[in-house]
Point group: C2
Chain length 71, copies 2
Amino acid sequence: MYLSLRKRFGQRVRELRKSAGFTQEAFADRCGYVRAYMSRIETGGANLSMDAIETLAAALNVPVSKLFENL
Amino acid sequence: MYLSLRKRFGQRVRELRKSAGFTQEAFADRCGYVRAYMSRIETGGANLSMDAIETLAAALNVPVSKLFENL
């Protein structure tokens, strides 16, 4: 089953967020987003911008390449 | 000197476009973009969306991860 890039990316953010030990609420705060938007990101409902991608990587303390590894 | 993600990504698109042998005009056409927008992408002036990133990767015939390798 082909998953869109948005969905695959959302799953990657969720995996990395959980392994970093953040709740969705705490991570949304850390990024300056409301929780509902973070939920849309993680479920592939948001068409993220490059600047938002940079914000997520910084908040997860990983290089942007890690967010796209094998995607 | 710190280059924003937009600028580093734009340079990567330019490198991959050139090694694939496309002029900027031909590649813009292939993506369904006007040349001026492609020029903004390559110079880091555009805050690309995830869908646009997916379009660029498909047009370059590379996985999305390649566009972000070491960024």
